[in-house]
């Protein structure tokens, strides 16, 4: 089966670089599955998971908090704001972050503060969801 080059980078470093049969990315208007010879696409990413698949199985699951996705027929580039491998997500820390974000949303007065707090909450929830689905898939295998 033909493969496509996938590069995932964040401002803190290169997370993944390799080939895949399919990459599933959380674009802002819904998840996109990218296979070789995809039409060029440029879009924003929301918080969620990027799944790099080989042989019909997930090879890498990477959590991103948002960013930019560029697709060329032979290449996928994920420019993530921050990214980490699903294996590295610390569940306790993620729960704590979610709780903190929830409190922040409840306590904020001004609109601007509510906005940032809600964005943080969305990221915290997405992180937990990624962890959960990642574990489920791992268990099923």
């Amino acid at each position: 089966m033909s493969t496509i080059q996938v590069d995932i980078v964040s401002a803190e470093g290169e997370i993944f670089s390799g080939t895949a049969e399919m990459a599933i990315c959380p674009a802002i208007q819904g998840d996109v599955g990218v296979t070789p010879k995809h039409t060029p696409l440029l879009t924003k990413l929301r918080a969620g998971e990027v799944r790099v698949q080989n042989g019909g199985k997930d090879q890498e699951t990477i959590f991103v908090t948002g960013g930019i996705l560029e697709i060329q027929p032979n290449q996928v580039t994920v420019l993530a704001d921050t990214a980490m491998r699903a294996d590295d997500i610390d569940e306790a820390a993620a729960q704590e972050a979610k709780q903190r974000a929830e409190e922040a949303v409840a306590n904020q007065q001004s609109n601007a503060e509510v906005g940032t707090a809600q964005a943080e909450l969305a990221i915290a929830i997405a992180r937990l969801r990624v962890l959960e689905s990642y574990r489920k898939r791992k268990g099923a295998r």
Partner: protein, 287 residues
């Protein structure tokens, strides 16, 4: 011949200086390692970003963003200069400033006005000294530059680009080649220079999600910020490397000076002893 005591104090003061330069060399060496790690970590992002934006400029889109096109009729250009806050790092800053000044003179000869946004105290004081037109400055970034600190200086330039005050935006910075070499360079940031990828067809365009106007605005702003941020991170690594090399040279130089002075001192001391002896012998002979 200078007397022995004078030479002794001179040797002592050089030894003290040498201690300082040695300490600075070691501090710079350890900071450089950290700065290099940071630089290596954020480089892939900046490079990929540059690639994507290069593709974007190459795409034949119906929608043209001002950051991607234009810049033919140039009346005024902006330059973002990234330099260090502190001195004692050899010719690092001055090489960059010389290159920038040369570039500015070329622009002015062509009848193009220049305005500057300076990052780093040394850049501020130098360009204020040559009476350049400075519209924004940012100082005291520290050893770990943060994006939020840089955004202000970048935004001033982006705003005047948006308003049509400047037609081109350049960035002058040092790029880190290796510990011994840092190369100063003035690069065009806006409008974006297209990258032609031979594998791509002649006419193609992206699908944009959401609409191009909104998407490109965000993407291109982030592109400029990432390039300037990378320059600032590179600059710290350059600064530390240049300082380490400069301080090593200073310490070595101090060592040579001490050696030479020590010889002079020994000679002076020996001469004093000889004179004393001759005097004693002459005195004894007289008696």
């Amino acid at each position: 011949m200078a007397n022995a005591k004078e030479i002794r104090t001179q040797i002592k003061s050089i030894k003290n200086t040498q201690k300082i330069t040695k300490a600075m060399e070691m501090v710079a060496a350890s900071k450089m390692r950290k700065a290099q790690d940071r630089m290596a970590a954020s480089r892939p992002y900046a490079e990929k970003m540059r690639n994507v934006i290069g593709h974007l400029a190459d795409a034949s889109s119906d929608f043209t963003h001002p950051y991607l096109a234009g810049g033919e009729d140039v009346k005024k250009v902006g330059i973002i200069v990234v330099a260090t806050d502190r001195g004692l790092c050899g010719g690092l800053n001055i090489n960059l400033f010389r290159k920038t000044l040369q570039f500015m003179q070329e622009q002015e000869k062509a009848g193009v006005e220049v305005e500057l946004s300076v990052i780093g105290r040394k850049a501020g004081s130098f360009f204020r000294g040559v009476k350049a037109n400075i519209v924004a400055s940012k100082e005291n970034l520290g050893d770990t530059p943060h994006l939020v600190d840089i955004i202000g200086a970048v935004k001033v330039m982006l705003d005047s680009f948006d308003n049509g005050d400047i037609d081109r935006l350049y960035m002058a910075n040092n790029s880190f080649v290796n510990t011994m070499t840092q190369s100063p360079d003035v690069k065009q940031v806006l409008p974006v220079v297209p990258v032609t990828d031979e594998e791509l067809p002649q006419h193609w365009d992206y699908l944009y999600e959401p609409a191009p106007a909104e998407l490109l605005d965000g993407v291109l702003k982030r592109y400029v910020e990432s390039q300037v941020y990378q320059a600032a991170v590179d600059n710290v690594a350059c600064e530390m490397a240049a300082r380490m090399v400069a301080m090593k040279a200073a310490s070595d130089n101090a060592g040579n000076l001490i050696e030479d002075l020590q010889l002079v001192y020994n000679k002076a001391r020996q001469a004093a002893i000889t004179t004393e002896l001759t005097e004693i012998v002459a005195g004894a002979a007289a008696v």
